[in-house]
């Protein structure tokens, strides 16, 4: 499966294996934790990583935009990893010349001290019936879309096998996004309630985790 459709609060969401979600009614493409500039930040500090993964990030987003034709793209924080460096340039150019509009819910990593053309920056964003934030918000009345955690899940099978995969985590009142950027790492989470849903992501597709029957 390359994508999965779900209805949340009567709205249609398409989950995509490129770690983005398309909200159809509002025509918004949502993603989180891109960490632009991370590799260059490391290299600037004398850590010799290969610089190619950073190019893939933008290409992957462009291909998702081509498939869904959104009007707007919303980043759920940590779009940038640290201070400005040259790796930002290709993204800044992309924002500037795109005819879509871009929103960033600011995250703990984003340290932006200048205006970016065609990218509006918000602390959080309420668009009915959802609350967009970087950090997961607890005990909220309305449904929360967020990032920050970089969730992954360890799948265990017979013969003591296990595979770790990034995932979307959906609970009754919250959707946590996987980190979009290559070279960002993940945090292992566990299923908290049996009613919660997990959609696992491999390089080529999505795998919803079927729940064991609850009693």
């Amino acid at each position: 499966m390359k994508s999965i459709c779900k209805t949340i609060h009567n709205q249609t969401f398409t989950f995509d294996y490129r770690k983005v979600v398309f909200w159809e009614e509002a025509s918004i493409l949502i993603l989180s934790d891109v960490h632009i500039g991370k590799i260059t930040h490391f290299r600037k500090n004398g850590i010799s990583l290969p610089s190619s993964p950073s190019v893939n990030n933008l290409n992957s987003l462009k291909s998702a935009i081509e498939d869904y034709h959104p009007k707007e793209v919303v980043f759920l924080g940590d779009l940038f990893h640290s201070d400005y460096n040259l790796e930002w340039e290709q993204w800044l150019l992309f924002f500037k010349f795109s005819n879509l509009s871009f929103k960033l819910i600011i995250g703990n990593h984003d340290s932006i001290n200048f205006k970016i053309e065609n990218l509006s920056i918000l602390k959080y964003w309420n668009k009915h019936p959802f609350h967009f934030s970087h950090y997961p918000v607890k005990d909220l009345e309305i449904f929360n879309l967020c990032g920050h955690i970089h969730p992954s899940f360890v799948l265990r099978g017979k013969g003591r096998q296990k595979i770790k995969l990034p995932c979307f985590y959906i609970s009754t009142n919250q959707l946590i996004f996987p980190s979009f950027g290559a070279f960002t790492g993940t945090h292992i989470i566990h299923l908290k309630k049996s009613a919660d849903e997990i959609i696992l992501i491999s390089k080529n597709g999505l795998f919803p985790l079927e729940q064991p029957d609850s009693f």
Binding site: T40, R43, K44, N45, L49, P50, S51, L155, K158, F207
Partner: protein, 812 residues
């Protein structure tokens, strides 16, 4: 030689006054040192090695009535805890001879005040570690500081040679010699299988020739091994590594000894045994201490002093007390669990009966039934005069990168000149020009072709060709990272009143919650607060809690140890018939109940099913590391025949392939599974993605500076530069597979961990053996320790997405 006559008159007079006579190796060494020769002394701990060097090293200062302010001798020890002891013994000698020379210590424990003092003026004799030596080389004007250096002594060289610290020492010595050709180098080593090579590696090449002298002391220790066996062998557990059930047998030994050292294999085992003894022998409170590498320095020093002064009776310790410490003879030595190698066992035994000609006694306490076989093998091993080899590392680019950046941080370096002396070391004598160019590119432009938005910054090349670090930030970060021992991020453990208790690994802390209780250094603590790099704890009266544990590497049998073990095993069948009293008969019978015990012409494979899946166990008896390689190789070769996924486990006796479907061994055996051709290629394909290479890469990434482990106490400010080596490994594999550091991780897996030569020999041996395949209803005694091992790896030839689908089905 007139010089030697005067010297001898002087030293003999002093020795006479103490009632001592020089041993032959001592006077041989004095002669060579006075000639300005370099060399290696092969002498066991406690045989007077300090005295074989120091008098001759300081002699020129006396003879010329020189009162120099310069550093004349560097004494390098592998362990910080040794420095103090060596300083004291040198100072004693100097004082008794009224010599006005200063001795200082410089290592990770040295206070900032002392370090600042040393920055202005070094003592005449400096006792230091390889890491601190490299730190001195990374400070400004280091060449001037070493201008009057007469001798560098590398103590316990056998401990360094088989590690990357050895490479670090090789590089530092090459640099020192290049800038001060009159410096001589002396090593001290216990007996290892390749002692001649050890000398050549230490001294490097001068004018393309090996040089220096090898001086062997003729001191031999007699060792007696006693096994602590349970009264009834069927009381022994089949697996496990604790052995505390044998405590009742140990108590009388402790009671009748004036002093006892109990060696354990891991730090958590050490903690557990300490607690266990305290429970069973409460009267020991106050007379017992614990010693391991994570306990705070002050406490460790106190313990070492207390043993020396006979203030305590019992010390439970790990390899942290393996080396040197010249305290008075301990009466009894106990080894808990298999020591994995004969050399280590002999060295530990040597802790008792320190005087020449005295018999050293060591008790061996097996932790599970099969270790009883080991104990029989060990007793035989110490009777023969054979010890293992320690192979030196070659082409460790990570260490080279760290060394070059150190030079660039201090006064800078020129490429050609540096290459010339680096090539004189054993480790880099074979470095190619392309590799050298790659290393230079790596530190200056970040290894690959330049990209438009690249801002890589580490080492700059100045107009005159000097390689230099100009950024203070990079210099500072480099200095805190120097070293080749890699551990997980360490957190400082402190009590509420600020007293330092020790260090604890981050991964262990991450498993604890506030208020939770754990055991450390023999005391229960409750977590009060965690902030930055510190864990604040309160003492707790709890009687239970988690036992602190450390990742650390697991050790493997040496090839010699494996051979002994196999011999012992082949005897089991015979002794069942011939020796009804043999305590191992119980084990033999149990194993024979459903399965078999192979003889020298046979190779055993067992298959059985449990709720975990289908187990296939192979028994080469070749040691853990070889089994790790073999399990990958065999799993890989089977996976070529059909899509299948294995979970692998291994120990010193054999390895397991666990699968979710039955594996018909007869079917697969006809496919040249044990063929030793294409070995390199098959192994490479199988370990490319494996944990083994990843583990090696972790060390390489830290040493070469790819992973930044953080500034002490300033962790927060650097979080944006931290990344896991796992993540890095994936990035290199996917985007830059020809990176030398990435390739090094794979090469190291082959050469040091897998020991290709040994692996080939094992395969050849197995090819000639008759295979016995036993399908059994229950796990056999041999299989038990393997199948219960939780540290596992996967190897699969199924399509990744297919595996996910299958596991999702099993999940629900």
């Amino acid at each position: 030689m007139r010089d030697y006559k005067n010297f001898k008159k002087w030293i003999l007079k002093w020795m006479d006054s103490k009632g001592w006579k020089p041993q032959k190796f001592q006077s041989d060494t004095w002669k060579e040192v006075l000639k300005g020769e370099s060399g290696l002394i092969n002498a066991p701990t406690g045989s007077g090695k300090t005295l074989s060097l120091i008098p001759a090293i300081v002699w020129p200062s006396i003879d010329n009535n020189e009162n120099s302010n310069q550093l004349i001798c560097l004494w390098i020890t592998p362990l910080r805890s040794l420095s103090q002891q060596i300083k004291i013994s040198i100072e004693e000698f100097l004082m008794e001879n009224n010599l006005n020379l200063s001795v200082g210590v410089r290592n990770g424990d040295t206070s900032i005040k002392e370090r600042n003092k040393q920055r202005n003026k070094l003592p005449n004799i400096l006792v230091t570690t390889p890491e601190s030596l490299q730190l001195i080389i990374s400070s400004k004007d280091w060449k001037k500081k070493f201008a009057f250096l007469r001798t560098v002594v590398v103590d316990e060289w056998h401990e360094l040679i088989g590690s990357k610290r050895g490479v670090q020492v090789e590089l530092c010595l090459a640099a020192i010699r290049h800038f001060n050709s009159s410096t001589s180098i002396w090593g001290i080593s216990a007996t290892i299988g390749n002692i001649d090579q050890a000398k050549d590696v230490l001294l490097g090449k001068i004018k393309d020739k090996n040089n220096g002298v090898l001086i062997k002391s003729n001191i031999k220790k007699k060792i007696q091994v006693k096994s602590i066996a349970p009264k009834e062998i069927n009381h022994m557990p089949w697996r496990g590594h604790l052995g505390t059930n044998l405590t009742p047998q140990l108590i009388p030994i402790i009671k009748k000894s004036k002093s006892t050292l109990i060696f354990t294999n891991t730090r958590s085992q050490c903690e557990l045994w300490y607690q266990n003894l305290l429970d069973k022998m409460p009267e020991l409170a106050g007379d017992m201490a614990m010693h391991h590498g994570s306990i705070d320095r002050n406490i460790r020093l106190w313990v070492e002093d207390a043993i020396r002064n006979e203030k305590i009776k019992v010390v439970v310790c790990t390899s942290s007390l393996d080396l040197g410490v010249d305290f008075h003879p301990v009466e009894s030595i106990v080894q808990v669990g298999g020591p994995k190698g004969v050399a280590r066992f002999v060295q530990r035994a040597g802790r008792s009966g320190h005087r020449p000609n005295e018999v050293s006694k060591i008790y061996f306490l097996p932790t599970h039934a099969i270790e009883l076989i080991e104990s029989a093998a060990l007793s035989k091993a110490v009777k023969k005069d054979f010890v293992e080899q320690r192979s030196p590392y070659l082409l460790s680019f990570d260490v080279l990168i760290q060394f070059l950046v150190s030079l660039a941080v201090s006064d800078g370096f020129f490429a050609e000149q540096t290459l010339n002396y680096i090539k004189k070391t054993h480790a880099f004598s074979m470095i190619s020009n392309q590799e050298w160019e790659w290393v230079l590119r790596n530190i200056t432009v970040g290894s690959q072709s330049l990209q438009a938005y690249d801002e890589y910054k580490r080492v700059d090349i100045l107009e005159n060709g000097l390689f230099k670090v100009n950024s203070r930030k990079i210099a500072m970060r480099h200095r805190v990272q120097i070293g080749t021992i890699v551990s997980d991020a360490l957190l400082q453990l402190k009590s509420i009143n600020g007293k330092r208790i020790g260090k604890i690994e981050e991964w262990f802390v991450s498993k604890l919650n506030k208020g939770e209780v754990f055991l450390f250094g023999g005391q229960y603590y409750k977590i009060f607060q965690m902030k930055n790099m510190e864990v604040i704890v309160k003492k707790s009266k709890a009687k239970k809690g988690k036992i602190v544990s450390w990742m650390g590497g697991r050790m493997s049998f040496s090839s010699y140890m494996s051979e002994l073990l196999r011999e012992e095993l082949y005897e089991l069948n015979k002794s069942l018939l011939s020796d009804p009293e043999n305590p191992l008969n119980f084990l033999t019978k149990k194993q024979l109940e459903f399965s078999a015990i192979p003889n020298s012409g046979e190779f055993l494979i067992e298959s059985f099913q449990t709720k975990d899946g289908f187990h296939t166990i192979f028994y080469p008896f070749e040691g853990r590391f070889i089994h790790e390689a073999l399990s990958h190789l065999i799993a890989y070769r089977i996976s070529l025949l059909k899509p299948i996924t294995f979970s692998l486990a291994y120990n010193d006796y054999g390895f397991e392939l666990l699968s979710d479907e039955f594996l018909d061994v007869q079917d697969i055996l006809d496919n040249n599974l044990w063929d030793d051709s294409y070995l390199y290629q098959d192994l490479k394909d199988s370990i490319n993605t494996s944990e083994m290479a990843r583990r090696k890469f972790r060390d390489i990434a830290v040493i070469s500076g790819l992973v930044f482990t953080g500034m002490p106490n300033k962790r927060k400010g650097n979080k944006d530069l931290q990344s896991g080596s796992q993540l890095l490994f994936d990035v290199f594999r996917d985007y830059e597979p020809d990176n030398l550091l990435y390739k090094q991780s794979i090469n190291e897996t082959f050469e040091y961990q897998l020991e290709e030569g040994r692996l080939r020999a094992a395969l050849k041996r197995i090819q000639d053996q008759k295979l016995i395949w036993k399908k059994i209803p229950y796990p056999s005694p041999f299989s038990f320790p393997i199948i219960t091992d939780r540290m596992r790896e996967n190897l699969s030839s199924e399509k990744f997405e297919d595996r996910i689908k299958k596991m999702l089905l099993q999940y629900s």
